[in-house]
């Protein structure tokens, strides 16, 4: 076995990871550190097989190419194999099988289950039903903890730390629950948050207080240019059409939140722009060529971070001697 096996503590072994809140600050730090060590293994320049002979089921009840492929890549880079249902909605769900039954069955076929499902709370239900660990790859508008982990990993790689970073969260901060988990994790690690959103899509008040409770400085700055001026990270999210009364209103708002070279003209040289992808016009293509663009690096880091998590949950404990 090579050096990629991380397992610094037994704490995550066999555990479910449904929400970022299931992980302590120390556990998140462990996963991030392990994720950094996984990079050469994710790139294929080093090889290690801590998941050899293990099978991970990908239970995707709604399509999500990126998340599924990066999980599959992570499993296979660690020497494990996958059984995949790319779009379960087309198969057993249509036949009326309950999620509980499907998970029950899958937990007999695999050593762990990665689940993506359109209903909030589905991953928690799956974890209760499954005898094997369950990793949540997105439950509706709910939790998506590995997204938060790879977001943190991207910022940490760029700046060496999360503490004291000034992070602008831009876009739909009201319904975008991935952003809620990220805001929580950033506050936990001592980053300061700048909230930039259309007036109707602001962060819910009841979510703001807990962030401040964690010690984060949280400011609201609807003006993008001003928000970007002294920021370290600009985290851009999608603004969905369904949130607006009509097409014209949507286009007006979406247009005013578009990131291009002119928005970044007065940014700090080291500012990074992040996006969970896929983007739909939120970031102009001209930004790709600037040193600010971090979203493709962010997409790549999905693999080593998911490898680190899979290894911590499933990898063989290092044998002594």
């Amino acid at each position: 076995m090579g050096g990629a096996s991380v397992a610094p503590r037994m704490s995550l072994r066999g555990r479910d990871v449904i929400s970022i809140r299931d992980l302590s600050r120390e556990e998140i730090e462990e996963i991030l550190a392990a994720g950094r060590r996984m990079i050469p293994y994710a790139e294929g320049s080093k090889v290690s097989r801590p998941l050899a002979d293990q099978i991970v089921a990908m239970a995707f009840f709604e399509p999500s190419t990126r998340t599924r492929l990066s999980f599959e890549s992570a499993v296979q880079r660690l020497g494990g194999s996958c059984i995949t249902i790319a779009d379960m909605s087309a198969t057993s769900m249509r036949k009326g099988e309950s999620l509980s039954d499907t998970i029950h069955m899958l937990s007999g076929y695999a050593d762990a289950i990665v689940i993506r499902h359109p209903n909030e709370g589905s991953a928690r239900l799956a974890a209760r039903v499954s005898a094997k660990p369950v990793l949540n790859a997105g439950d509706g508008a709910g939790q998506h903890p590995t997204q938060t982990l790879l977001d943190l990993a991207t910022m940490q790689e760029a700046f060496g730390t999360l503490a004291g970073l000034r992070v602008v969260l831009l876009g739909d901060l009201r319904f975008g629950r991935t952003v809620h988990s990220l805001a929580y994790a950033l506050a936990l690690f001592g980053a300061d948050l700048v909230l930039t959103s259309p007036p109707t899509l602001g962060l819910p008040e009841e979510l703001k207080a807990p962030l401040e409770h964690l010690g984060a400085k949280v400011t609201t700055e609807p003006d993008i240019a001003r928000a970007v001026a002294d920021a370290d990270v600009l985290y851009v999210t999608r603004i969905q059409k369904e949130r607006f009364p009509d097409e014209a209103e949507y286009r007006k708002v979406a247009g005013s939140y578009r990131i291009d070279a002119s928005v970044l003209a007065h940014a700090k040289p080291r500012l990074i722009v992040m996006h969970p992808l896929p983007r739909a016009g939120e970031i102009a293509a001209e930004v790709d060529a600037t040193p600010h663009a971090a979203y493709f690096r962010q997409a790549f880091l999905a693999v080593p971070v998911r490898m680190a998590l899979l290894d911590a949950v499933l990898g063989e404990p290092k044998r002594k001697g």
Binding site: S98, L99, S100, N119, E120, G121, R124, L125
Partner: protein, 153 residues
């Protein structure tokens, strides 16, 4: 001791006293009067002077004892209530309602997209995050509920 029997004494049954003023009807909803035995007379006193809390409501139900689940539901909406079991006209036991750490099956999750609304073999479940004021969070989707009176199952 002044016996406070504004309504007819009952031989056997349950008295829910010290219900927060105005909430007797909510308590009745939880008891589900339709489901009671034919011989269960229900009497209500609303807006009764209370030595402890100003004004209160009282509900008395003959020949019935409350399931733990119903006690939890009452604890949620009327935290000051007491529940007395009457046997042969005497108070056999009396206790305060108390809110458990988890509430199973009493409320519906306010999130319509929550997995608990799907045809799954699962009951609603809420964790009690705070008691004063009562704040609950769905054990599945994590949705926070503070207006739980609207969501009684």
């Amino acid at each position: 001791m002044v016996r406070e029997l504004k309504i007819v004494p009952i031989k056997n049954g349950t008295v829910i006293d010290h219900i927060n003023n105005g909430l007797a009807l909510e308590v009745l909803r939880i008891i589900n009067v339709q489901s009671l035995d034919k011989d269960s007379t229900v009497s209500i006193a609303m807006h009764v002077r209370s030595a402890k809390h100003g004004w209160k409501d009282i509900v008395k139900v003959e020949n019935m004892e409350l399931s733990p689940r119903k006690v939890n539901a009452i604890a949620l909406i009327a935290p000051t209530a007491t529940i007395s079991i009457i046997r042969d006209f005497k108070v056999q036991s009396k206790r305060n309602v108390d809110l458990p750490d988890r509430i199973v099956g009493v409320l519906k999750c306010p999130n319509p997209n929550c997995i608990t609304h799907q045809p799954e073999p699962v009951e609603s479940e809420f964790a009690v995050e705070s008691r004063r004021p009562v704040v609950l969070a769905c054990a599945y989707c994590e949705r926070v509920v503070d207006d739980f009176r609207q969501h009684l199952a």
